[in-house]
Symmetry: C2
Subunit: 106 residues, 2 copies
DNA sequence: ACCACTATATAGTAAAACAATGTAGTAGAA
DNA sequence: TTCTACTACATTGTTTTACTATATAGTGGT
């Protein structure tokens, strides 16, 4: 699906956090996961800016490790603040989604 | 609910269009409708910028009429382009919402 | 050597929502 | 009659976020 840019604003952060919460991962993998999920337009640059933002907010722990197939990978995991932030994100998302359904069915 | 700013980006346009599609209305009424709906943080300035944007995109027909309780009101209705745009919005929203549910339940 | 794939990063731009402020009309109270 | 509250629209400037384009770099195959 294309043209989701504006709708994704605000959601992408949560989407990335949620994916990381399933287990340690890194930018390149996340990018391809999102594209496979159906967010075709997502490019690497976007994911890396999200990750650096989340890191700057103190929501992730980071560890660089070698890869056998290319340059070093930067592995991310949620920390406690990240878990809390993610929970809060879902509360807001659920609120919005419920209101949207309500609006649509009026 | 507060702090929805970023999540609202991209959705607010659709929300406003959807509300207008229920019948002719104007900015001030829309603002208070949204606040009553639960989007507490929405202020008039935001709604007017959305309306002017939608108008500029050619999605609305506009008519100014007097009011007995204040200055003139600017009444909006969806035109054919607006209906099409709204339909497209819901397709994108449904896609996103479905993916979000999928992500969350993984 | 060259190319494809893997992997991270950043500078610049555009879009959208908010904050703050200004302008105006109506009506009721002091 | 002046002031206050409510109604109503609009604009300027700021922040946040995602995209575009580009740069850098490691690995492996031809």
């Amino acid at each position: 699906m294309q043209g989701l840019t504006e709708l994704l604003k605000g959601s992408l952060e949560g989407i990335v956090l949620q994916h990381i919460s399933h287990g340690e991962t890194y930018g390149y993998e996340i990018t391809h996961y999102l594209i496979d999920l159906g967010f075709e337009d997502i490019v690497e640059g976007t994911v890396y800016t999200v990750l650096l933002r989340l890191e700057k907010k103190g929501l992730l722990t980071v560890e660089r490790r070698k890869s056998t197939v290319g340059p070093q990978r930067k592995f991310y995991q949620l920390n406690a603040a990240g878990e809390a932030y993610l929970q809060d994100f879902w509360i807001k998302w659920d609120f919005l989604a419920q209101k949207m359904t309500q609006l649509k069915e009026d």
